[in-house]
Symmetry: C2
DNA sequence: CATTATTCAGACAATTTTATCCGAAATAAA
DNA sequence: TTTATTTCGGATAAAATTGTCTGAATAATG
């Protein structure tokens, strides 16, 4: 059941690490994040370039450079990250793959699937990085392998 | 949002076509099904071999051979097809990809995701081919591109 | 100015998924 | 008994996703 690509999974985990482990300085280096959450530096760099292009991160090159959130963590919702990395049509797809599945021409499981997607969307839209970071900091929950 | 592989999507659609278009004779040919729902004969053959191996279908070779449901359509649930084609660990995976995510060592979105998976599982376990076939036959719903 | 640390850009490779194809085996029908 | 039809098994190819690597651009610091 692969609801999110590896790219999104890594991206969300990396952003949560950033928020949960503020570095004191403005920017945090990609290398440090990759090391801490145990994933490929180069792959994470690619993901963060995308998030920078989509306006979720700022970046700054050179020594003491790195990346930083473009908005307060309380204003970045999971759905923003998913849309940035999976595309804005993320919630538009039919469970059975029928093109143009919708109210007018529904597939056999359309109504059910519409409800599931709605629930997921509501939850991802209502959950901020700040919110989840608090659960991580309080050790209610884990982020590492 | 790719919840089901192409394999599962095709498999479910093909089985629904079978149930909704009984052929009179005991077996229905894979070629006919592939033609009617507009997908690759060879790919569908591969999918059906798997469903036969998993006990969801019977098959019979030779002229007037083909495949047939191994049980009444009212007893084949969507979850059976998904388990057969995606694996029995289908509902075991963490949204963020953390290995061993569960009650003891949850990821930040574990509780939410557990509920979503439960809802999906309940629905797929409660929906039979017969049930959906009735919606198709009454043209409440479509199966073709 | 030289060195070092960092992101940026994109080529390349590996892996997985999806799709195509061919020949063999089975079996009904001519 | 021959021929036609069908599934079976697996090799191969194509496409998408995931992961690796190299060099360039940028900027702080000695």
């Amino acid at each position: 059941m692969k609801v999110l690509s590896q790219t999104s999974k890594y991206g969300i985990r990396a952003l949560l690490y950033m928020v949960s482990h503020p570095s004191g300085s403005e920017y945090m280096s990609i290398g440090e994040i990759a090391r801490e959450i145990d994933l490929s530096f180069h792959f994470l760099t690619k993901i963060f370039r995308e998030l920078t292009a989509k306006g979720i991160l700022y970046s700054y090159r050179g020594p003491s450079g790195g990346i930083a959130l473009a908005k307060p963590a309380s204003e970045i919702m999971l759905v923003d990250i998913v849309f940035a990395l999976e595309g804005k049509d993320y919630f538009d797809q039919c469970l059975l793959g029928l093109p143009g599945c919708g109210h007018a021409k529904p597939c056999p499981v359309h109504d059910f699937w519409k409800d599931v997607k709605h629930d997921i969307r509501v939850h991802l839209s209502g959950t901020s990085l700040q919110h989840l970071s608090e659960k991580i900091v309080s050790e209610e929950v884990r982020l590492l392998l």
